[in-house]
Amino acid sequence: MQKEAAIREPLILGHKTYHDVTEDVCKPIEDKAPRMWYILFSIALIIGLYGVGSICYLLGTGIGVWGLNKTIGWAWDITNFVWWVGIGHAGTLISAVLLLFRQKWRMAINRSAEAMTIFAVFMAGTFPLIHMGRLWVGYWVLPLPNHFGSLWVNFNSPLLWDVFAISTYLSVSLVFWYIGLIPDFATIRDRAKKPVSKRMYSILSFGWSGRAKHWNRFELVSLVLAGLATPLVFSVHSIVSFDFATSVVPGWHTTIFPPYFVAGAVFSGFAMVQTLLLVMRKAMKLEAYIHTKHVEYMNIVIMVTGSIVGTAYITELFISWYSGVEYEAYAFLNRATGPYWWAYWSMMTCNVISPQLMWIRKLRRSLLFTFFISIIVNIGMWFERYVIIVTSIHRDYIPAAWSMHYPSHIDIAVYIGTIGLFFTFFLLFARYFPVLALNEIKTILKGSGQSYKESPDYHKHH
């Protein structure tokens, strides 16, 4: 068994046994849902349905119901798309990259972070699909034989790369997540008393029995999927950034975009994980598994990626001047001092200044402060995409075509609606699925659990 230094903070607090771990995770699923869950679920569902209604109205009427115009052809839709995809980057990063680096603290958060990833990518995918206006022909983005017209899809286009990247990312994350869930569903199945839930979890657990050979395969599959998902995470947001970087719009045409977008995605993804987990650990009484140390680790990730993002902002500014291209220089000057200055400075404050506060140990270990910063970062990252997208195109090469973007009621409703749907899915997940990776937590109980670390024979094994 792998041992770690006794001076490291234990990852699992309290004197837990294997059975306690099962109890703690399964209890919220088996008990009646608290009243608060119903209240939150109803609010999320109402907001979500309002969004669905707005989408139906949009599809019935046309894209004209959005605040787009002839100059600004992309605004809230793509901003929201990139924002959601970015949020969807934390889950796979936690479960894949941290698995490859053997970071054990990920085991407390990977399940819910992956769930969040999947729901976030669902929300992201909504925007390009509805922006097509004719949702029912959405499958035309696939390379289908050309009796639909005279052409194949364009494989030279970053928009098509995006189709492949997002759909691969979504489906691979889903498979990765589900393969980890199967043994945990089996645990719930074997504890279930009511016939309906027994039947449901039997189906979901695929008849998992926990044989030695199956565990052997399970571990290898997890490792290889992590190996595949790691470059995938980096490729997805790089490709999203190509949507802009390969164009010739000043402010978009930048080689720094791929790494800068990936860092920003991880930054916003971890912030969303913090927002959700800080509430979830309290509501589901999981404080022993997700505690200050986990929050601190995530805050360090936020600090590092936030610094990368900050560096990228400043690099962009410098290069726009240093390039000597007056259009490029104007695009950045306009961002900071033009009509959208407030968006630019919101972005700067939220994304550059706030993560730097995490250098202070006391702050990054404060749960309340972390929650506050996580919201700030999410707001900041939304503004980042809005600034990049709208301020770059609202004043193009011909001053006669200059324009402003004002979101319509439907713009706002669809965006808020996706947030509602996201929380609806997440609340359902928290109610019916094991929110911690039971089988993984049990493997680190002896190496990183508090009672084992404090036991007198802990050092004997060395």
Binding site: N154, F155, I179, T187, G210, L228
Partner: protein, 177 residues
């Protein structure tokens, strides 16, 4: 053929491992171990070989890469030479940069899904399958060792004697058809 199965249940993975070691060194063959989580180090003791699923993943990935290359070459170079910004696709190699993202994504797509499907089929874990663990507690905190009498060269008494001091919590014997 009638067979007798002995299930020995343990409450700790370390105890299970030392017990398995003892039995195996005395020539007993352990048919199966059921555990709530992967017990590291049990595989070599009971003779479970490493899986070759990794090789399968590589082959699926290679298939994906090949398909993507063939597909894009056909769509973009042979069937319909699209002229984008005055840069027509006359050869695949000269335009390969534009084809790298989709090649990569499709490789990962095929490798990941191919391996996941193979994994589920090999394990026979599919929707609707019946669970086969001998005791529901093996998915919670218990570890069960399965010994089949027909596999052994020694008698049941000898196995009982060996098991006696291994620290099991429960012992169950079952006769199967």
């Amino acid at each position: 053929m009638a067979d007798k199965i002995i299930y020995a249940m343990y409450g700790d993975d370390e105890v299970l491992k030392s017990s398995a070691k003892k039995l195996v060194s005395n020539g007993i063959k352990i048919a199966e171990v059921y555990s709530p989580f992967p017990v590291h180090g049990i595989d070599p003791i009971i003779g479970v070989k490493g899986t070759r699923l990794g090789i399968m993943a590589f082959l699926y990935g290679l298939t994906g890469l090949t398909l993507a290359t063939i597909g894009m070459r056909y769509f973009m170079v042979l069937e319909w030479k699209m002229n984008i910004g005055g840069k027509p696709n006359f050869s695949y190699v000269e335009n390969i940069l534009a084809f790298i993202p989709v090649s990569f994504e499709f490789t990962v797509l095929c490798a990941a899904h191919g391996m996941a499907i193979t994994y589920l089929l090999l394990n026979r874990t599919l929707p609707g399958m019946k669970a086969q663990n001998p005791d529901p507690r093996t998915t919670d905190d218990k570890f069960v060792m399965e010994i089949r009498l027909s596999d052994q060269s020694v008698g049941e008494d000898k196995i009982d004697e060996l098991l006696k001091d291994t620290g099991f919590e429960e012992l169950e014997k079952k006769i199967t058809e």
